[in-house]
Every structure is written in C-alpha cells, then in structure tokens.
C-alpha cells in the first residue's frame, strides 16, 4: 500500500515540478485516522501530503468541472472516479488534454464512519490497511480484521470495473471483486412504491447526494429553481419523490455507479438502487455503459432506428 502511496507522491511531485500540471487533486490525511479528505496540491513539496489508503472514498472528479481550466491539472483517481472523468469529458465539462490522470487499480474502499462496533471504538483507531483477509483496523487496543464483504461500500462490492479505463500514470493492481449483491427491490409495484415512500420520507433535502455527484454539475439545479418550481424545497415524501425521481432520470444512462450519493446520505436512502436499475436497462437494451471511453454522446443524446419501441403495442 505504502508503496503505491509513495508512487503517487512521486508522480504528483514530478508533474508539479516539471510544470506538466499546475495542481494535483488527491486525498490527504483526514482529521481522524480513519478518514481522508480531498486536498489540492500546487507545490511540489506538498505532494508528501497525498495518501492512499482504504478510506480514500471520495470521488474527486466532482471537483473537475469547477477547477478545470486551460491549465492542466492532475487528479488521483480510482477506476470508478475515472469513469466519472470520462463522462465529464464526454459532456464537455473538462478536456482530456487538460488532465493528468494518476489512475489506481482498486479493490474497493471503506466508509469508516460505519465501522464502529463492539470490538473497538472509532476514537481508538489509529490506522487502516488492507491485509490478506480483509481490512485491518489498527487501534490503540490492538488490530481488528474485518472481512471485505462487511466493510466495503455497497457499490464497491458489486463493482466490476476495477482497472482504470484511461490514465496517464497507473499504479497498483485491481483486486478481484468479492461475491455479493445489493438488496433487491420488492417485486410488486405497490410494495415498491411503499418501499420508496418510506425511503423518501426520510429525505431531509440536504442535497448532499447531488452535491457529491460528479455528474450533477449543473450550475443551477432544477430543484433549486423557483420558476418553474418542479419540486418544492419542503421535505415531504412527494416532493422528495419528485426530486429523486427527476434526478434519477437526469442520471439515466449517465451515472457511472461510484455510489458516493448513497455514502453521503445522512439518512441512508438507497439512492443507487434507482441508478443500478437504470444502468442495467441501458446496458441490456441499448448496449450502453456510462463511462465507456468509446461512446461519443450520452445515452439519451443518440438513437438508433431499430431502438426498442415503447410506443408500439402489438398488432
């Protein structure tokens, strides 16, 4: 691990020193040992602040639309983050030539805030590292190994693309995915609606899901508009339904499945369920996978004559 971390630092330093890039976005040590935080390095000597550990959850691509300029910037990115970057390139939020992608092979990351358990307290944690059997939580009272299935983020468990699709430098190897699946939605429409009703009734409209999403880069979100007010700001289940349904539609065929929205949700709404479903259909029906570097336009920005026809009803 530390080997890769060293390489990232070296690469960032090299790039900054040589003037290849003016800035490197990466992860730095968090305020506590089980967290990391996004950092923006513009001096070669600060490259030492970059870290790579199991808590590097943030999809840093979210910063690109804001930071991309005519100067080249570097970004440290996991494979899912890179798919976000590809989507952003496709949607003209950033130019490939203005990016220096430090890609990482990945086996999943950990949202450590959820690790608290009977064996140890979070305040005693001093570090996290991957070991053969899973995640080793190093605490003042000793080491605790948790198996991957129990600590990885949901999206990391089902993730199938663990190699960077595009990069300028690449470190680390992908780790074989674990067996696992996310919870299934209820079968019957009425049950499903009730399921979502419960979920959306929890929503406090903090918009963290939207804000953390690299694909939600609109300068002005429909949900913030007063005219036309498609969804009111009030946190009622119906309004939250409207917000989440619309957002899901806006991300249909665009969401690359990093799962950040679900991670940051303070009330645990399984937002990704909607997007997983949409992505499945996009792939099955149109052979389309968001974040595929070979696609030129988003799913809904193109059509084929022989597309599935929902308007045709039998004879």
């Amino acid at each position: 691990m530390s080997d890769i971390e060293t390489k990232i630092r070296e690469e960032a330093k090299r790039a900054l020193e040589s003037g290849d890039v003016s800035l490197v976005i990466g992860w730095g040590a968090g305020s506590v040992p089980f967290k990391t935080t996004p950092i923006f390095i513009d001096k070669p000597e600060d490259a030492e602040k970059l870290v790579w550990n199991p808590a590097c959850v943030n999809n840093l691509a979210v910063y690109l639309p804001k930071m991309a300029s005519d100067k080249k910037i570097g970004i440290v990115a996991k494979p899912c983050d890179i798919r976000s970057i590809i989507a952003l390139i496709q949607e003209k939020q950033v130019k490939r030539e203005n990016l220096h992608i430090i890609g990482l092979g990945c086996g999943g990351v950990v949202d450590a805030g959820d690790l608290d358990n009977a064996d140890f307290h979070l305040q005693d944690v001093t570090g996290l590292e991957w070991v053969a059997d899973g995640l080793n939580v190093i605490t003042t009272s000793g080491d605790h190994v948790i198996e991957c299935g129990a600590c990885l983020r949901d999206m990391c468990i089902i993730c199938e693309k663990r190699e960077p699709a595009i990069f300028d430098a690449k470190f680390g190897e992908a780790v074989e995915p674990q067996e696992g699946e996310v919870c299934a939605l209820p079968e019957l429409p009425d049950d499903r609606r009730k399921f979502w009703s419960e979920q959306f009734s929890k929503c406090i409209r903090c918009y963290a899901c939207r804000q953390i999403c690299p694909n939600c880069y609109c300068e002005s979100c429909f949900a913030d508009r007063i005219e036309p007010k498609w969804t009111a700001k009030k946190a009622t289940p119906e309004e939250s339904w409207m917000f989440h349904a619309t957002r899901a539609m806006h991300l249909a065929g665009r969401c690359i499945g990093c799962g950040e929205c679900e991670r940051v949700c303070p009330v645990n709404i399984p937002i990704m369920q909607l997007e997983i479903e949409m992505a499945k259909i996009a792939k099955e029906r149109y052979g389309y996978e968001p974040g595929d570097p070979d696609e030129e336009a988003p799913l809904l920005g193109q059509f084929k004559d022989a597309d599935h026809d929902p308007g045709h009803h039998g004879g």
Partner: protein, 668 residues
C-alpha cells in the same frame, strides 16, 4: 395580471353540450381573470371586436379564448389581440370544441371538463411572455419538383411574375402523365395539343431552368433559405452541343426495350427520348441497356452524332442550390393490379390498365392510334371497362376514391365507339362520380349517344375462354349475376402516391397521410400549404386530381410563392428554443439531440465561478434562430432547464398541470 376569458358557443357546436355561461362564470373566479364572457361566434368580426374592446375597457394584458382547436384559429386570435394592442403571443386557447363538446355527451362532467380546459389555458397564459418575430433574409428563387402539368404551370406562373425557377424532373422530359393521354375529358381536347405549347414555353422562358433527368437528394434550411442538393443524372449527352436532330435515335442498335412512356405497350432504344415532342428535346442514353456501357462495344451514336454531343464519360453532377420557396408537384403513380388474383394477376395480355389503353388510343402511341388487343393485334369487338380497380378497396390498401376514373372510363368508352363503330362497350361501375363542370352531361352522352352499357356491379373474376375474356360480374340493379364475354378488358387502376413519396416527404420535412399522400396544412383553409413554411403542394401528389384541379392548384401554389417572394423579408417563428446562458452548463446534450443542427456550443464570458482559477470563459449552447423550428427536443433534454422553448416553456406546462390539481383531488 389582467386576464380576459372569452367563451365561444361556436353556434351550437359547443353550446349544445357545454354550459358556456357556466364556463364563463367559473372563469371569473380563476386567478388573474378580471373579465369573462361568452359569445356565439368568437371568431366572427363582432366576436373579435368584442375581444379588442374588452382589452381596452378592462385593460387586459392576457387573453384566453375558449373555442375550437388552436390548430385552427390560434393565428386568428393572435392577430386579433395584436390589433387590440397586445403582444400577439399573450393569448392561449382552450379547445372546447374538438376536445370536449364534440366528443362528449351533454353532462355536468362535460361542462366541468370545459372549465378545466379554461383553467389550464388561464394558468398557461399567466406564464406567457411577449414574443417577437425577427427578420430573416429571403432568397427569391423557386424550386419546382416535378415536371408534370402541375410543375409546368407553377413554374410558368412564378417565372412570369419575374422570379427565377428551377424545374426539376426525374425523367428525360417534362410533360408527366398528361403527355401520355390521348384526349382529355369532358372537352375531348387532344392532350398533347394543349400541353406541348406550355412545355415549349417552359423551355424558352428566360427565367426557367429545366433540369430533366435530375432528382432532389437533400433539402436543408428553411423558408427563404432552403439549400437543396440536386443530382443531375448523367445523360451521356452534352446538352449544349446536342441539337436534338435525332440521327442517333435511328441508328442505335439496341431495340426492343419496353418504353416507360408507352407503359410497356411499345418499345424504345437505348438512346432515346420518351416521345417526339419531349422537352428538352434531347435524347439520353439508358446506361442499363446501352451496349457501350454493358460491353464497351458499339459506340454508334458517338460516331454518327454530327455535333459530337455524345459523352460516355459524363458523370452525375450533384449541385447544392439555394431557393426561397419550393413547389412540390411530384404527381401520382398507378396501382399495379397484378396482385389481383381474381383478375389474373396481370398475366392475361388482354387485361390492361387504362393508361395503357390511353397509349393504344393515342395517334402517336405504339399502335399509331389503332385500337387492337395486345395478345393478337386484332381489333376488339367488345371491350369492358372496370372502374374502382384498387380504389375504394381498403383490402388492397386504398380506401379512397381515385376521383378521375369514372370520367376517363366514360371518355374511353366514348372515344372507342367513336373510332370503332361496331364495338360493344361495357362499363362496370359501383357509383358514377361526375361532379365537375360538364362531367355528368359527358357521362350521359357516353351512355345515350355512344351506347356504352353501364352495369352497376363490381366484377368478381375474369378468365380467358375461347380467345375471349369472360367477366363474372353482377348487375345489382337487376339483382342477378351476369357474365360478359369481351375481347379486351381495361382496368381503371387506383391512383396512388409515387413509390418514393415518403422519402421525399422526409427530405422536405413534410407530413403524409396514411396512404403517403402529402398532407396539406389544413384541408379546408390551407389546401396548398404544408406545415413547413415555404413549401407548397400542386397537383396529384396531394390526392387524386383531374387536370383542371391540378392546374388550379399549381397556380395557387405559384401565387403563394410569388406572395412569399414579394415580401420585403420574412419574419422568424417566435416559438423557438432559447438558452439561458447563465445557467447553461455547456454539456452539449442539446447539440446532440437537435434535429436541425440549430444549436452549437460557443464560449462566453463567465462570471467568476472557480474558487481557484479565475476562469473567464465558459462554453454554453447557442441557438441559430433561423434554423430552429421549435420542436423543443433540446428543452426536454436539458437538465438544468437552461434550454427552453418559447411558447411551450416548462413553467407554462407546469402551470397547466398544476391547474388540474383541483380536478385530481376532486376525483380521489
């Protein structure tokens, strides 16, 4: 906000099933409404004056007309409120007639629905913004597609008004179907005698360019600014050098090619002109049959041509030309009756189509005007004419009436008796539709003076027997099945759209009906226009028409073009897309989905938005107002609501949906 609501009775059309007074009453309580009334005919002059007066009296700033479909009268009321001093786009219509009174019984629910429709319109108009039209430059050159009588007439009229015209015809000569006819009903003028002078006029008109053997391949742009790609197929003849002397036509060794012009009743050679009076009167080489092209042998025509006009190496030329207006005059095709098993699948040589019979009757046709049977060249003693072969026959795909068959059946039955006095004629008909000037009299003459035996009944089967054709029919007036033996059967096959009509429609962006006839903008009030500005219809490409109707419509189409060209400039359609640059994220999805390529990404100054770099430029979408047609696909695609469609903005549609909240609540 001061909205006026005007509820129309439409005579009894609305008032019969909808309580119009109650609707007007209910409107009075709607948010923003300050005045509401009902009147017998809102679209009438007094009705319109009422609106204008109310605008002044009640200081209205928005108007809702609850009457018929906006597809019918929206422009009427836009003009009306503009006259009343408002921006023309501050009006919305509630479709109380087509969508309510005509389709529901008189019940309280129907009136309730009417109120809802008004509520929606009121809610929408509340969100209307004044719109302006902009001036767009206008190119004053016309394209006429199709060189039949319709295209010829339209081209002449436009050119006579002083505007240049390109007349595109895909066969080697203009003239169209009319050139194939022998005589025309009911006057029995010789078709060629009245057509060829017009063809010659076209050829000699300084403002008309005839592009024969050419086809339209692509149409881009919009009214006043069409860009049309036209393929001039290689004639293998250099037009400038050819004098039309005809030497080559005599010497070409490849004979016996079925003549398209003679409907396969006669033959032509590999170098040919369709008929002697062809315009342009210069031949073309049919490369699919010419030995020079097939085997690289022969070359006789090149050797014999006194002016060296033959050019085997000539290639198709594709030109992109600009036009201000387009007349579509592509005419019709004829149904091939060879799918009708009961009539022998087109296999009996003595069962022919009426257009083939025209060629047989025609003095310049393959038989020099002698009426003989194709099977043995003998003069027939009895001829049967069958009407409605494929027409009025939904089972064969044409539920419509081909309109002209009754008349040419009569014409042919008359002419054949005129030429062969001892021939017996039978006309099997279902109904006789003779509703033009002098038509009914003409049919009666055919029966009374020329002895045609009209039998009312559709024929069930034709089969050959002893060298004759046996027709199994019925006389429904008599109530008996009948059998008639004749020597020749002439079928009035259905008129249908050209096979590639749909392709052309797509190219032009105009719509077609279920049969692929081109659709006019309004069946009553805009019979010449289509839904795309600057394109007009002439002749039978729209629906079966006879020659007088075709010529009349051609002149109408021409006058529309002339009217368009006489404008100083054209005004842009105001209901088009616009982009809010402030909120646009520049993702380019609208660029992807715009069917017209009307949107591009441009760089603009950005307000400070980055926390680190002072990025001053950003990409945003930009609409080319001349090219945008207002479909709104971009607006639906835009996630940040930055792309919008004027007149159908998100806020307006949302207001319409919101306005129904009470209805929805009421029904739970």
């Amino acid at each position: 906000m001061r909205i006026g609501v005007f509820v129309c009775w439409c005579g009894s059309n609305i008032a019969k099933t909808v309580d119009v007074a109650a609707v007007a009453e209910a409107a009075r309580d709607m948010p923003g409404v300050v005045y509401s009334t009902d009147y017998k005919y809102m679209c009438s002059e007094p009705g319109q004056n009422m609106v204008k007066d109310a605008i002044k009296e009640h200081r209205l700033d928005r108007v809702v007309i609850a009457s018929c479909s906006p597809r019918l009268h929206e422009p009427t009321f836009q003009r009306c409120i503009a006259d009343g001093g408002l921006n023309a786009y501050m009006v919305e219509m509630a479709n109380l007639r087509e969508h309510c009174s005509w389709v529901h019984e008189k019940t309280p629910e129907t009136t309730e629905k009417a109120i809802h429709l008004v509520r929606m319109a009121v809610a929408k108009v509340t969100k209307n913004d004044p719109l302006q039209r902009n001036e767009i430059p206008l190119g004053r050159r016309a394209l006429v597609i199709g060189g039949g009588i319709a295209g010829i007439q339209a081209a002449l009229d436009i050119a006579d008004a002083g505007y240049p015209v390109v007349l595109v015809e895909r066969t080697p000569s203009i003239g169209g179907h009319m050139a194939q006819y022998d005589k025309t009903f009911p006057t029995l003028d010789c078709a060629a005698c009245i057509l060829t002078p017009k063809m010659v006029d076209c050829a000699s008109h300084p403002l008309i360019d005839i592009w024969s053997y050419s086809e339209v391949e692509e149409v881009k742009g919009f009214v006043g600014n069409f860009e049309v790609k036209i393929r001039k197929r290689a004639k293998s003849i250099i037009d400038e050098k050819c004098t039309g002397c005809g030497e080559c036509l005599e010497k070409c060794p490849v004979k016996g090619i079925p003549s398209e012009f003679d409907e396969n009743m006669g033959t032509r050679r590999a170098i040919y002109r369709p008929f002697p009076q062809a315009v342009p009167n210069k031949p073309v080489i049919d490369r699919l049959n010419c030995r020079k092209f097939l085997e690289d042998k022969c070359g006789v025509c090149a050797k014999i041509c006194p002016t060296g006009a033959i050019d085997y190496a000539q290639e198709d030329e594709v030109l992109t030309e600009k036009f201000g207006g387009i007349v579509v005059a592509t005419g019709f095709g004829l149904w091939n009756h060879s799918v009708m098993g009961e009539y022998g699948y087109g296999k009996y040589p003595d069962v022919i189509s009426a257009i083939q019979f025209e060629r047989i009757m025609n003095a310049s046709g393959p038989t020099d005007g002698h009426i003989v049977r194709p099977s043995d060249g003998k003069t027939p003693k009895a001829i049967a004419f069958l009407s409605c072969v494929g027409s009025r026959d939904q089972e064969h795909g044409h539920a419509y009436c081909s309109k002209v068959c009754c008349m040419y059946n009569a014409k042919q039955a008359l002419l054949v008796r005129d030429k062969l006095h001892d021939v017996e004629t039978y006309v099997f008909y279902m109904d006789i539709r003779a509703n033009g000037k002098g038509y009914e009299e003409f049919v009666q003459r055919t029966i009374e003076d020329f002895g045609a035996n009209y039998i009312r009944g559709r024929v069930s089967k034709i089969y050959p027997d002893n060298g004759q054709m046996v027709i199994k029919g019925a006389d429904t007036l008599l109530g008996k099945a009948v059998e008639v033996r004749v020597d020749l059967v002439v079928l009035a096959t259905a008129m249908q759209p050209q096979n590639d009509a749909k392709d052309l429609a797509r190219m032009l962006g105009i719509s077609t009906d279920q049969y692929n006839w081109f659709s006019e903008a309004h069946p009553k009030l805009k019979p010449v226009e289509v839904l795309t500005d600057g394109i007009y219809l002439a002749g039978a490409c729209q629906y079966p028409k006879d020659i007088p109707d075709t010529v009349a419509q051609a002149s109408a189409a021409a006058s529309k073009v002339i009217g368009l060209f006489s404008k100083k400039a054209i005004l842009s359609e105001p209901m088009i897309a616009n982009i809010n640059e402030d909120t646009c994220a520049g993702c380019g999805l609208c660029v992807n989905v715009c069917p017209y390529g009307a949107i591009e990404l441009i760089e603009v100054m950005d307000k400070e938005k980055s926390t680190r770099e002072n990025k001053v430029m950003k990409s945003v979408a930009n609409v080319n107002e001349g090219v945008c047609k207002g479909c709104g696909t971009c607006a639906a695609a835009c996630r940040s609501l930055s792309a919008n469609l004027r007149g159908f903005e998100g806020k307006q549609i949302l207001a319409e949906i919101d306005a129904l909240a009470d209805m929805v609540k009421g029904r739970k």
